[in-house]
């Protein structure tokens, strides 16, 4: 491949979209061609600048509420009970009661997530401020996992992600919602990621990745395989999603 071919593929290479043989060809070329190496370095610097400086605009809380308000009324239009037309007052009272009940459940669970998010951020911030990142400092998943399991009544899934840019630093115990929980500590560049893991209550469903952002921290939450996962870091949203995807893929 000459420089023109390389420049065409440079972006796919940077985005890890090339198949292995092509990526190796680019590797070999970059090792010998200064001009292409310089172009690569420049685009790579631009990529990290975008990821760390471009603003990620979060939706306001008001927007979610307005959308719910416009989606939910669809339920009110149809009569729920055949006798509704004969007993308009009674049905209206029942409808109001049911609506405020479902709304209460929705908002209760939203604020519960927010409250857990706050506690997870506090735990992460405490560990960074006090420099107490890990109780067991090891990049070996086979020593972190037994250490945690022997101190908890469950065994969290522990995977080292060094190969994809998130080396395991160690594990720690934290105390959340009146129970000790496992915290896996990962590093990405100079940033720490805390992954809180605890077993779900019976009947809780699997939940796709959900993101909260607060006070400069990004928090991702998902439920999977009977466990609740809360990842927190000062990394940006895209890198956090990379982390969650890498963790899910490595299981």
């Amino acid at each position: 491949m000459d420089c023109t071919d390389i420049r065409t593929r440079l972006h796919a290479y940077l985005d890890q979209e090339l198949d292995l043989p092509s990526a190796m060809e680019v590797d070999r070329h970059l090792a010998t061609c200064d001009a292409c190496k310089k172009a690569y370095a420049e685009h790579s610097a631009l990529q990290s600048a975008l990821r760390s400086h471009a603003t990620y605009h979060d939706a306001s809380a008001g927007l979610a509420q307005r959308i719910r308000a416009r989606v939910a009324p669809a339920r009110e239009r149809k009569p729920w009970f055949p006798w509704q037309q004969w007993l308009p007052m009674g049905a209206a009272v029942a409808a109001t009661a049911l609506l405020s009940w479902t709304a209460a459940i929705q908002y209760a669970s939203v604020s519960e997530d927010e409250a857990t998010g706050e506690r997870v951020i506090a735990g992460h911030a405490r560990s960074v401020v006090t420099g107490h990142l890990a109780d067991v400092a090891s990049s070996d998943q086979h020593s972190v996992k037994p250490w945690l399991s022997s101190r908890l009544d469950y065994s969290p899934p522990v995977t080292d992600l060094t190969g994809v840019g998130f080396p395991l630093v160690g594990g720690r115990l934290d105390y959340l919602d009146q129970r000790p929980v496992a915290v896996l500590v990962y590093r990405h560049r100079e940033h720490m990621i805390n992954l809180f893991v605890w077993p779900l209550q019976e009947g809780a469903r699997a939940q796709p990745v959900h993101r909260l952002a607060k006070r400069g921290y990004n928090v991702l939450h998902w439920n999977d395989g009977g466990m609740a996962f809360w990842a927190v870091s000062d990394l940006n949203a895209a890198e956090m999603r990379d982390f969650a995807a890498a963790y899910a893929a490595a299981k």
């Binding site: 420089c3 023109t4 420049r7 065409t8 440079l10 972006h11 796919a12 985005d15 979209e17 001009a35 310089k38 172009a39 370095a41 420049e42 685009h43 610097a45 631009l46 990529q47 600048a49 975008l50 990821r51 400086h53 471009a54 603003t55 990620y56 605009h57 979060d58 939706a59 306001s60 927007l63 979610a64 307005r66 959308i67 719910r68 416009r70 989606v71 939910a72 669809a74 339920r75 149809k78 929705q106 939940q207 796709p208 990745v209 959900h210 993101r211 952002a213 940006n236 949203a237 895209a238 890198e239 999603r241 990379d242 995807a245």
Partner: protein, 180 residues
């Protein structure tokens, strides 16, 4: 499917991706109010067609609807877009000499400055929208070329060339901003 199931599906598949939808809409419209309106409209559409959603990638589905809503809105409002004439196939050739050889300071040095955020946001806002949407989905949403192709309804090769073009323009804008 009854209405209650629809609302529940909407809550679990799309509400978690409101941030992604808003961020995308905000970068497309470059305006807070319009972005909010657009996300609202997109969510109502998503809800209307929720019966045809079978639990695939909720984020990609919603982002695709946001994008369609945006382009419909553009047409309706006849907003002149700043599309640059651009030949997708042949832009690569001949650009090697143009990039990097001038004695501009390296981009990482420029972005050490305290107004890096302003510079980066400003450069992104200047991008013509077809490049802006591709690079926002790639770098801020962390999506793969395949996912971007599905959302924008364009071939994979076009995603690749738009991202390449977006990056070249961004470097050019950042240098111009630095010189002025």
């Amino acid at each position: 499917m009854d209405d209650q199931t629809r609302v529940r599906r909407f809550e679990s598949f799309f509400v978690p991706h409101l941030d992604a939808a808003y961020n995308f809409a905000r970068w497309l419209t470059r305006d807070e109010r319009n972005a909010e309106d657009m996300v609202q409209e997109a969510c109502l559409r998503a809800f209307k067609f929720i019966d045809s959603f079978h639990g695939e990638d909720g984020r990609a589905w919603l982002l695709g609807i946001v994008r369609n809503t945006y382009y419909t809105w553009l047409k309706r409002n006849k907003v002149a877009t700043l599309a640059v004439p651009f030949d997708e196939e042949s832009f690569d050739a001949g650009e090697i000499e143009a990039s990097g050889d001038r004695c501009a300071s390296p981009i990482d040095q420029l972005l050490q400055e305290k107004d890096a955020k302003r510079l980066v946001n400003g450069a992104l806002e200047r991008l013509p929208e077809e490049f802006r949407e591709a690079i926002v989905l790639r770098e801020l949403e962390g999506l793969s070329y395949k996912e971007i192709a599905a959302i924008a309804g364009i071939p994979l090769g076009t995603v690749m060339s738009r991202i390449a073009r977006a990056r070249k323009l961004l470097l050019q804008y950042l240098r111009q901003a630095q010189e002025s």
